[in-house]
């Protein structure tokens, strides 16, 4: 199939940037979206143009590197799918696609589709851990964690930290990302002790880093390639209230 791509090109953070149009020809439906872009890049190189810069690494939907907005939807809008896992069979011959980077105040653009996600790191540094030391910890079975609790923690822990939730939110809030870590550690006996300080510090960091507030649009849950539920945002809010008490 043949497609027309309108791709955001921006040389650096200071550059204004604009959409450029390129054809994508002879695309096979078994190719992934990024393999389609690889081919477009090969053509650009052969015609003496600068290839499109985009983040990617594992190409199996787990590292959280890839980050593109396709036709207004982070990761292209297919349910529970990162852009590297999106396959061309989801598209039709003649389609016109608009490909843009994550857009949020907290994510300055480095180049083309590559953004700076340091702000997400800062939120984690504020408290996304248990303060255990290497060595000298208890046996893994010393504290029992019944399956439903372990499953709940795992549901939250599946976050890949890509930032699609931020990119999809009208307020550019990082609430889903923050709440996933807060919830995971709040329900586990190993994380409970620090729960109060953690929720406070991570929420503060989120605000300081330039992410917006959550006003319950729930676009984040739609966009999340791991299907992280907004129930964790409710959990964060409850944990936050508890921490004030």
């Amino acid at each position: 199939m043949n497609l027309t791509l309108h791709v955001w090109r921006q040389k650096g953070p200071q550059d204004k940037g604009k959409l450029e149009t390129y054809p994508a020809k002879g695309v096979s439906e078994d190719q992934s979206f990024l393999e389609m872009l690889d081919d477009v890049n090969e053509e650009l190189i052969k015609s003496g143009k600068d290839p499109i810069a985009f983040d990617h690494d594992c190409r199996e939907g787990i590292c959280g590197m890839c980050s593109q907005v396709i036709n207004g939807k982070p990761h292209g809008g297919q349910e529970r799918t990162t852009v590297c896992q999106l396959h061309m069979r989801e598209f039709n011959d003649g389609d016109e696609l608009f490909i843009e980077p994550w857009r949020a105040r907290a994510f300055p653009i480095h180049k083309d589709l590559i953004v700076d996600r340091t702000a997400l790191e800062m939120v984690m540094q504020a408290g996304g851990y248990t303060s255990c030391h290497t060595g000298g910890v208890a046996d893994g079975n010393a504290l029992l964690i019944p399956k439903p609790v372990a499953d709940y923690a795992m549901d939250a822990a599946e976050c890949i930290g890509c930032g699609a939730c931020v990119a999809s939110c009208p307020n550019s809030s990082a609430m889903l990302y923050t709440s996933a870590k807060v919830s995971q550690l709040a329900v586990l006996p190993q994380g409970k002790g620090e729960a109060k300080a953690r929720v406070k510090e991570m929420t503060d960091a989120m605000q300081n880093e330039g992410f917006g507030n959550c006003t319950n649009h729930y676009e984040c849950q739609e966009a999340c390639p791991k299907g992280i539920s907004v129930k964790f945002i409710a959990k964060l809010n409850r944990e936050y209230m508890k921490s004030m008490a």
Binding site: G12, S28, Q31, S32, E35, D38, D39, E42, I45, K46, D50, P51, A53, D55, D57, C58, R59, E60, G61, I62, C63, G64, M65, Q85, H87, R89, H110, I114, D116, R117, L120, E121, M124, Q125, A126, T130, C132, H133, T134, G135, V137, A138, G140, N141, L143, L144, P146, K147, P148, A150, A153, M154, A157, E158, I160, G161, Q184, L185, Q190, G191
Partner: protein, 638 residues
């Protein structure tokens, strides 16, 4: 040169404890004065940097991704081994040790493997303390599953995302140290040279991937935890950015490269769909717990829908060939068996390079819901890539390059032959011999990072004065000039082929000639082709853009340039090793029924190569392997 692995002597079960007592310590007040450079933040590097920071060392950590959390360890699916024996099925440290030595086809050092088995239990405890949500039963106890090459259930897991959860645990520990100020992170930074002063590792040269600037970093010790090199095959299960670059730069500065020909081809990957593909996707080995491998008995049936092939016309070839391990035969054996069936023209799917992995028997036994619970995310991933529903129709799988057992040579302390240069995780050669068992790479990465390096590095640092060499030393300037010259050379080739076209060419030579089955003729062909592709790279590649900017073509070109030098040593190693062992299968050395034939008399050694310059013969150094606690035996899984 005969290499000395410096393994402690005495009863094996005491070696690590005794060694820890014998090693020198660094006084807590002095730790801060030592700067340690940790290159890589995967399981090995992340765990190591966090633990060293916590001890009070001054740590700087580097990775090429934009966050430490994105190292390729994140992609590990199936699980991590430990000798906890929670299921009471007869496991022990000795059994884990024995299985690993045997699984590696008797080509690893006994003491290193013993230590790995010994600390495996601490790893699970450590991860639980960090909040890693391992699978548990309703009462709350940790759950286990089985993996290939073992007859006990010793694998701990977190759904199909064990690597992710373990890495996020290590990342959280690292993050805590970053906040505490003991570790400084340098993401989007690639190591492009090792700086050696008077024969001792004293720092690195890096390229800032955002600005393109080259920078110097001094350190009292340099630790490489930079992962594996199977992207030399181009198509593999590794991430796109995985490379041999850091290890190869060290090799060019004198570090020996051990057993490069030991690479693992994983049996359960999604078959290739076409020639435009950029990578192959693994389907976790844990799937073989409940899935049965088969191909049609008759060639004529290969194009039929699998449901139309009756039970009696199916060849469950692993169960037939290896009745006691069946579908859980180790990886090298399962991969070769799949290749044999396809070579026999009984493969299925596009190009007939595929075998079925069938869940029907298990679905009938335990129900679809249980299967979904165990492997839901893998089935989902399979469907995204192939548009097929594996609950309804058997998966198609085929072997793919996956893991490198070879790596930089290290002694028992994880130190290379270059003093001050340590190597951890997949980047070193230490514990897996010629074949790695499932769920033991995660174990090794975390063992090296949490429990080995914090002890052994002290022994080295206690013997040196901190901060004697800084960035103003002439060697740093020289290194930057050399890297700069090489970058400019690449940018000025102005040829016709793209970096990825040439990488594909290298990959296809490596896969055809140095892949699952190697022969004298194929290896000699590879040794002719590799220098030709390398020449073409330096004369006819088109590396676009500039040095002083974010330039992904330049990054890929630099990695390919290193693969093109490394590949030659890899093929030479395979050619010199006139035996079949583990992942290294020489067609000349097999039994009548196609099983590998080891030659313990002549090849029970580690082959460590010293690089002597491009186009020059590398020199082979040997470390003889002694087996005092296991008996060398033909490895049988029948």
């Amino acid at each position: 040169m005969i290499l000395d692995g410096k393994t402690p002597t005495g009863p094996i079960e005491k070696t690590w404890d005794k060694h820890r007592f014998d090693m020198k310590l660094v006084n807590p007040a002095n730790k801060r004065k030592f700067k340690i450079l940790m290159v890589g933040t995967g399981l090995a590097g992340g765990a190591g940097a966090a633990s060293l920071g916590e001890l009070g060392y001054n740590v700087e950590a580097f990775c090429y991704q934009d966050s430490a959390r994105r190292a390729h360890s994140i992609a590990a699916q199936g699980g991590i081994n430990a000798a906890k024996n929670y299921p009471n099925d007869g496991d022990s440290i000795y059994r884990l040790f024995y299985d690993t030595i045997k699984g590696g086809d008797f080509r690893a050092r006994e003491a290193d493997v013993w230590r790995l088995a010994q600390v495996s239990n601490n790893i699970i405890d450590q991860c639980v303390a960090q909040g890693v949500p391992f699978a548990r039963d309703y009462a709350g106890y940790l759950d286990n599953r089985s993996f290939g090459g073992a007859q006990v259930s010793r694998t701990f897991y977190a759904r199909g995302q064990t690597g992710q959860q373990l890495l996020l645990g290590a990342y959280s520990a690292l993050t805590r140290q970053v906040k505490a100020g003991t570790v400084k992170l340098h993401p989007r930074t690639e190591m492009v040279d090792l700086v050696v002063v008077d024969g001792v590792a004293k720092g690195i040269t890096v390229r800032n991937l955002i600005t393109g600037q080259l920078e110097s970093h001094w350190g009292d010790a340099v630790v490489l935890a930079t992962g594996g090199y199977v992207n030399v095959f181009y198509l593999s299960t590794n991430a796109m950015g995985c490379s041999v670059t850091a290890a190869w730069k060290a090799a060019k500065k004198g570090a020996f490269f051990a057993n490069p020909c030991y690479t693992q081809i994983h049996p359960t990957c999604i078959p290739q769909h076409g020639d435009k593909q950029s990578k192959l996707t693994l389907m976790s080995e844990s799937l073989r717990n409940d899935g049965r491998c088969w191909v049609p008995k008759k060639k004529a049936d290969c194009d039929k829908a699998p449901a139309d092939i009756p039970e009696e016309d199916r060849d469950y070839y692993l169960e037939r060939k290896y009745p006691s391990f069946g579908n859980l035969a180790p990886r090298d054996i399962a991969s070769r068996a799949a290749k044999e069936q396809c070579d026999d023209e009984r493969g299925v799917g596009p190009g007939k390079r595929g075998v079925y992995l069938d869940y029907q028997t298990s679905i009938d036994r335990v129900g679809e819901d249980t299967i979904r619970e165990r492997y839901g995310n893998l089935f989902e991933m399979y469907e995204k890539i192939t548009a097929e529903d594996a609950y309804k129709r058997p998966m198609r799988i085929y072997p793919a390059p996956h893991y490198s057992m070879g790596g930089l040579w290290v002694d028992y302390n994880c130190m290379s032959n270059v003093p001050g240069l340590f190597v951890l995780g997949e980047a070193n050669f230490s514990v897996h011999g010629a074949n790695r068992l499932g769920a033991s790479a995660l174990m090794q990465g975390l063992a090296d990072g949490y429990f080995v390096i914090p002890n052994t590095i002290a022994n080295y640092l206690a013997g040196i004065t901190p901060g004697t060499v800084k960035e103003d030393h002439a060697e740093f300037k020289k290194s930057i000039e050399e890297v700069d010259a090489s970058v400019n050379k690449m940018l000025n080739i102005n040829g016709k082929k793209t970096v990825s076209e040439l990488h594909r060419e290298l990959g296809s030579v490596m896969w055809e000639d140095v892949g699952m089955a190697r022969s004298d003729a194929s290896l000699k062909n590879a040794l002719k082709r590799i220098p030709e592709i390398r020449d073409e790279f330096w004369n006819n590649c088109n590396v676009t853009g500039e040095a002083g900017e974010l330039n992904q073509q330049l990054e890929n070109a630099g990695r390919l340039a290193d693969f093109l030098e490394f590949a030659e040593v890899f093929a030479k190693d395979a050619l010199h090793r006139e035996e079949s062992c583990g992942g290294h299968f020489r067609t000349e050395h097999q039994t009548d029924d196609g099983e590998a034939m080891r030659d313990d008399e002549n090849f029970a050694y580690v082959g460590a190569w010293e690089f002597k310059g491009v186009g020059k013969e590398p020199e082979l150094h040997k470390e003889p392997l002694k087996f005092e606690n296991v008996k060398l035996a033909v490895r049988s899984y029948k």
